[in-house]
């Protein structure tokens, strides 16, 4: 039997809802990973050891173990501790923290690379170190790592397929559902791939826009 894409339109609504879930989980996780990344970076660099050590431990845990395992741990493992998170929330936390750790590494390097004169100028005006970090150093560090953070966010979009295993009916799981009914894996996986690619293009367009907007502030 050859390929038959005529089965696809009948399941387009299922697939499109999957696309929406994929976008939702990607955007929520991206936001968490962005702000979490800044928070982890500042903690890792400046917090007293009582905060720094746990953050280091979590960073080590999230970088050193498979994302799939982290998702299982958050979704199934935490239930044993009485924390029963909805699959979507567990997925966002898992993806968000995982990528926050990677973003944090980028942001730490960028913070240390901001010209020392910037901190000095802010301190000279009377700002505290915290104020200078918040208003002067961190914004510049974040601006400097927008391109590599963007790459992380595209990796995040692709890894969002993993949350299908804890039952979030995003694009991959929706496709599997359609395949289960029609026994047409190639067609639906191809369609899913196409939609991932389209969302990817959309993200890249947004990133380019942000980069253009920040070009003047260099």
């Amino acid at each position: 039997m050859g390929l038959d894409f005529s089965v696809v339109p009948g399941y387009l609504d299922t697939i499109l809802i999957g696309v929406l879930w994929t976008i939702a989980i990607t955007v929520c996780s991206a936001i968490l990973s962005f702000f979490g990344g800044i928070l982890f970076a500042v903690t890792a660099l400046y917090a007293p050891w009582i905060l720094r050590l746990p953050v280091r431990f979590f960073a080590w845990l999230f970088m050193g173990t498979p994302l799939l395992l982290q998702l299982f741990l958050i979704y199934f493992g935490l239930v044993e501790l009485g924390i029963d998170l909805p699959a979507f929330v567990a997925g966002v936390i898992g993806l968000g923290l995982h990528f926050a750790v990677y973003n944090s590494e980028l942001i730490q390097t960028a913070i240390l690379a901001v010209d020392k004169g910037q901190m000095e100028a802010a301190r000279t005006l009377g700002c505290s170190r915290g104020q200078a970090l918040r208003k002067v150093v961190i914004p510049q560090a974040v601006r400097d790592v927008i391109p590599p953070i963007g790459n992380n966010m595209i990796a995040l979009l692709k890894d969002s397929a993993l949350v299908s295993v804890i039952g979030v009916s995003e694009l991959t799981l929706s496709s599997q559902l359609a395949i289960g009914r029609t026994y047409r894996p190639f067609e639906f996986y191809a369609v899913a791939a196409l939609f991932y690619y389209i969302v990817n293009l959309g993200m890249e367009a947004v990133l380019r826009k942000i980069e253009r907007k920040t070009a003047l502030s260099r």
């Binding site: 910037q118 000279t124 005006l125």
Partner: protein, 260 residues
């Protein structure tokens, strides 16, 4: 004159980096409204002394007083931070490399600190930015970013940023040495204007002409000590110390060659 009358008072300033003693027991004072130039060869400790005044490079010995308050007080960390931030609000500083905040517009460069530290409203902040930028002739660039300005314009904005905190004292560390020659004058003019308004200023400079025409007093430093000080007419035309003469000979001949 009693101790209390000295506006800026540096007492036995001493600074070492490990074995290297960069400032050796320097004492000097500056009156309110006085304009002082610090000159001297590279590595003589001019920047270190200037940066010790607002404790950017803390002294290893001695005291710095401003208007009756000790700046480098020995306090527990938290109290010290509060104290030094309050003191630094009263001391403006201008750097050789401007150090404008590149991610902020000219307006926000000027208003960032006053808004955050003095809690002024947006309307007040805008009025302040306009007033200060007008003062340095940069009002029409208020919505530009630093990357869109020439070096001279950047330095004028940096001066406006410092003035927006309404400091009692301004410190300049070679404010014009990073500028192309044709941009030096616009910054010098702004500094001259401040001098006419009787701002107290301590100016580290390599420009002898500027020091001679603007400053009330010239301090010549070498190897961490004040070798000679006095009015420009005396220090430049009739220096008593051989080291001063030698420095001026080099510097003025360089200047003469450049002028040919």
């Amino acid at each position: 004159m009693t101790e209390a009358n000295k506006f800026v008072d540096i007492r036995h300033a001493q600074k070492s980096y490990g074995e290297l003693e960069v400032l050796k027991d320097i004492s000097l004072s500056v009156d309110r409204g006085e304009i002082v130039a610090i000159i001297g060869p590279s590595g003589s400790g001019k920047s270190t002394l200037l940066r010790a005044i607002n404790d950017l490079d803390p002294l290893t010995g001695g005291e710095v007083w401003l208007d009756g308050v000790q700046i480098n007080k020995d306090l527990p960390y938290r109290q010290y931070e509060k104290h030094i931030n309050a003191m630094r609000q009263q001391v403006g500083m201008v750097f050789q490399h401007f150090n404008l905040f590149p991610h902020l517009s000219v307006r926000d460069n000027v208003t960032m600190a006053p808004k955050m530290l003095k809690g002024i409203s947006d309307a007040e902040a805008n009025a302040l930015a306009e007033e200060q930028l007008k003062h340095v002739g940069m009002l029409e660039r208020i919505d530009y970013f630093p990357s869109q300005l020439s070096g001279g314009q950047k330095q004028r904005v940096a001066i406006a940023r410092a003035l927006a905190m309404k400091p009692k004292l301004m410190l300049f560390d070679e404010a014009t040495s990073a500028l192309d020659p044709e941009l030096v004058e616009e910054v010098n003019l702004v500094m001259k204007r401040l001098a006419e308004e009787h701002m107290t200023m301590i100016i580290v400079t390599h420009e002898m002409d500027f020091a001679a025409s603007v400053c009330d007093r010239v301090i010549f430093m070498d190897k961490g000590v004040v070798v000679e000080e006095g009015p420009p007419s005396v220090v430049f035309q009739n220096p008593t110390e051989e080291r001063t003469r030698e420095f001026l000979r080099k510097h003025l001949s360089q200047y003469a060659e450049g002028a040919k």
